[in-house]
Symmetry: C2
Subunit: 350 residues, 2 copies
DNA sequence: GTTTAGCACTCAAGGAGAATGAGTGCTAAT
DNA sequence: ATTAGCACTCATTCTCCTTGAGTGCTAAAC
């Protein structure tokens, strides 16, 4: 059987109507929304065909039709009209993005928050490192006899610091040579290598030095570890509850517990394309089997990619969400992608 | 009318039964759980009295009784038996607390998480500063011609740092005197005062210096501002959905949106006492009018107090929650309260 | 060979009673 | 003061019925 233009037209009407109302769509309703004047009986014949082809489903015999995941897929691929943003919409987005997204750590989560409020769906946000993060530079600052500050700069230009206390007093004069040693031997390597080098060092320096160095290396190791771990932020999760498909508390709780309490376990889709739409069962995660996700990615500096996913029922308003999300992602890349901003200045080729 | 011992006894049975089952409690069920052998008719008379006194309520004429907020209050104040933790419970808590709570920033949120998983209710966590936080020390580290690292140590011993880029190149030699200037003029003062001093400085130093200093002061100002702002963390919010009282999606969403998306707006109860129970309408926040909160506080260092609140329906298991929470809070104070740990070493009396 | 009118059929949703049963309040006897 | 007993209330559940939206099929019309 063939998928005629009229069948596609009908499928489009069904999808869009169902997205709007969450109610099964009947033949009569379709007639009214169609350009060409045909009778409801004709539509019914076409609907039967579309169902046989797998694009539509019936909740029960005497209900209208709802789109199947395959139906949504066709809609998204071929039928959906690229929704252009209105001037007021772009203005609102631009205004929102003016805000203070200076701190790199905050960019990712803030971006997710903004998208969530703007598309009216829950979102998750994360960042992918293209390369492994290591320590780029150490610096030690004396505080008093019993403690000092360790400053650790990572390859992604983030700088972390903490007061580290010591059992033994340390001479201020000794800190510069120690940090020199750290910089020459403990940068650009993995935590594993750090530990081996630390072991090798144990009989080459005084116990005093060794103690201090191992404290710093431990701290740096934690940082590298933590930086490598994918931090996932979510925003607007409570909006899920407003959708009729999550009125069933069981369904709601399943997804909700992922979104708010087990963000780490959310399997993030790989993002080769700038934008990707995952419909229902296309999601790997079982918790998302009845939901859809629209994911976009954007550049952060030269070595990181931010990821924003919009989560909703399969009946999500793909056209609007996709339009707004991609506009956001493009602007984020524009703002943070190049190494022009306060965020980033890798000078590895020095 | 008087509140006899038997009435109290009955009230206790009603509260505990209702906490367990979430079903109105009838006179017959009460008889079975009472020590003294009386008939259900007698209980009914007593129940009528208790209702008249405002301790109980009826959902409708032919249902059993449920406790009113006043009833819960009496229960919590007088009737509740202090639930002692079993050995396995304390062991589990102790084991959980061994974990890595080293980073001060993480202590607060981690504490909330642990309590949530341990009491099986959602929690919020925050920290209260007893004193205003200001900058304790500045340090500037050269990176390259175009940028430097600003290290800012706050009075609560947290150290924050960031790469700050500059338009003009800066001589490494100039950084020490600049940080000396910052340390003598911009520590221990409010952001407002920082700005006035910055203004005064404008015609006393070169434009070069001024630019650099104002970048640092701006950064420090943001930090102080941010440190002053109450950060609120929540954990386990999705557990709310498992309680029958939040099966009504409207109710659930109201509280949920506070817990996951507007944490900042959660009005935190003041914590003079080490532990406080707020029942239903005793909560100031309208969103919590039908819920109860058990709050405990613990010391972090000498100048901070952590706050953990357990959120649940008014039908919350006060005895168990209170016991576990207070055990946690005491241990947290033991772990972080004194200035012995990696966290804290204020030497203001030096 | 489409298209359409017409009709029988299906089935969820909603409403009206009726039965059930848990629970009450009251009264009169203990 | 307590209790047995009884009439009463009312949410819940079930059944039965109606309604109406929607379908599939057939036979005629285009």
């Amino acid at each position: 059987m063939e998928l005629t233009d009229r069948k596609k037209q009908i499928l489009k009407v069904v999808v869009e109507s169902y997205i709007e109302t969450a109610e099964p769509v009947g033949s009569k309703a379709i007639v009214e929304k169609m350009a060409s004047r045909v009778s409801s009986a004709t539509i019914r014949n076409e609907l039967a065909d579309l169902e046989e082809l797998g694009y539509l489903e019936k909740p029960h015999t005497s209900a209208g039709r709802i789109p199947s995941p395959k139906g949504y897929r066709l809609y998204v691929n071929e039928l959906m009209e690229k929704h252009a943003l209105s001037l007021t919409e772009t203005e609102k987005i631009n205004a929102a993005m003016q805000g203070k997204m200076a701190e790199l750590d905050q960019v990712i989560s803030k971006a997710g928050q903004m998208v969530s409020t703007f598309v009216d769906y829950p979102t998750f946000a994360a960042a992918d490192h293209k390369e492994r993060i290591t320590v780029k530079r150490f610096e030690l600052i004396p505080v008093d006899d019993g403690s000092f500050i360790a400053v650790v700069m990572l390859t992604d230009s983030r700088v972390k610091s903490q007061v580290l206390p010591l059992q033994l007093p340390v001479d201020k004069e000794e800190l510069p040579p120690i940090s020199h040693l750290l910089n020459t031997h403990f940068t650009t390597i993995t935590t594993g290598e750090m530990n081996t080098r630390l072991m090798n060092l144990s009989d080459q320096v005084t116990g005093q030095w060794f103690l201090l160095i191992s404290r710093v290396v431990e701290y740096a190791g934690d940082l590298v570890q933590e930086a490598g771990r994918q931090e996932v932020y979510t925003s607007g999760a409570s909006q899920l509850l407003k959708f009729p498909e999550y009125q069933d508390i069981g369904k709601a709780q399943e997804l909700m517990s992922f979104m708010v309490d087990n963000k780490e376990d959310l399997p993030l889709p790989q993002s080769d394309a700038p934008m990707q739409i995952l419909i229902g069962p296309e999601n790997v995660s079982a918790a998302l089997k009845d939901s859809s996700v629209v994911v976009a990615s954007y550049d952060i500096g030269d070595h990181m990619r931010g990821l924003i996913g919009v989560v909703g029922p399969t009946r999500m308003d793909y056209a609007t969400v996709a339009a707004r999300l991609s506009y956001f992602a493009e602007n984020l890349t524009r703002m943070f992608g190049k190494k022009q901003l306060p965020l980033k200045e890798d000078d590895q080729n020095e």
